[in-house]
Symmetry: C2
Subunit: 191 residues, 2 copies
């Protein structure tokens, strides 16, 4: 998505070897018009899939997921993050490890909102090591729901998340694919 | 907003004396089309105000705030919640006490995203005791920004949040106003 690439070039901050900060339009301050166009892009890509529900994880996934849900006219569910969680019968629970923050979290989704009849599109802000997607995939399996595809706003192709997904033959579509950070600059994969 | 009242009647769950659970369309699962119409309602009400930014707090405020930002074509900033927070120069920080969860949190906004030139519309999912709004108001003051108004999805008029806001003569607009829960049923204020 050319507009997103341009925005990343303009407003993204490269920190160290593998962190990109986009808190001026996605992760803290949000550009709703860009989010709407991103939702429309995901819809155009996955419109032939029988999607019944969009699944994401709080908090930064919510804005792109809600705009995707708007385009599909389908409900959005966001998994909640917990530092710890005592066993609860009414929740699907999965583990997510954050390499950036070096902390382990649990994420949960109420059993009420995901079932065997659902065809799910995962939407998330970043794909790096794939831990959030793995946690969401785990929850979809627990629900016996069908994972139709994964829509990612920004993918870092040099980290291992993509491999994990490709190995499972899940359709994936990323709006911006970054292959490297060179001298503090973002280098995109050829579109 | 009649549609929201009907949805609350249909899908809301009254828990105990003062808790309303609306996690099937707002707080966990989200109805994006309803969110869009809510954003449009906030826009219609506050369209004459010189709004430059929408401010909310993660996570349940994000969906209505982003749709409000879409209607205004203005950026949205969500305050982050922290269990604790060591002093950081680049953040505005305020305290928020949750009566429901009986926990104290800090919320923060990066100084980059709120300044003296901003005219802010706060959007949040619930107004009960007004603690979240008080924290956001505190942050707006720290930024020397101008608070133009407050848009609330669901207000519980029998709790003290509304009084706190009226005392400060801040324009407030709530899409649904609940005056009581009687026998597990929601009773709305007359519109």
């Amino acid at each position: 998505m050319k507009e997103l690439q341009a925005r990343i070039k303009q407003d993204g901050q490269v920190l160290g070897k593998d962190v990109l900060k986009v808190d001026s339009f996605l992760n803290h301050q949000i550009d709703p018009l860009l989010m709407q166009r991103m939702g429309e892009e995901f819809y155009q890509h996955f419109r032939e899939f029988p999607i019944t529900k969009i699944l994401t994880v709080e908090s930064s996934g919510i804005a792109p997921a809600v705009m995707t849900g708007l385009a599909f006219q389908k409900p959005v569910v966001f998994a909640r993050k917990h530092k710890s969680l005592t066993l609860k019968d009414d929740l699907y629970v999965a583990d997510v490890y954050s390499f950036t923050k070096k902390t382990a979290n649990k994420i949960s989704v109420s059993r009420k909102f995901l079932s065997a009849t659902d065809h799910v599109l995962i939407v998330d802000d970043f794909l790096a090591n794939g831990q959030a997607v793995a946690g969401l995939t785990d929850i979809i399996k627990q629900a016996d729901a069908h994972l139709e595809g994964i829509g990612i706003v920004i993918e870092k192709t040099f980290q291992k998340g993509r491999q994990l997904i490709d190995r499972q033959h899940i359709p994936i579509f990323s709006l911006a694919r970054i292959k490297a950070f060179e001298n503090g600059q973002v280098v995109f994969e050829e579109e």
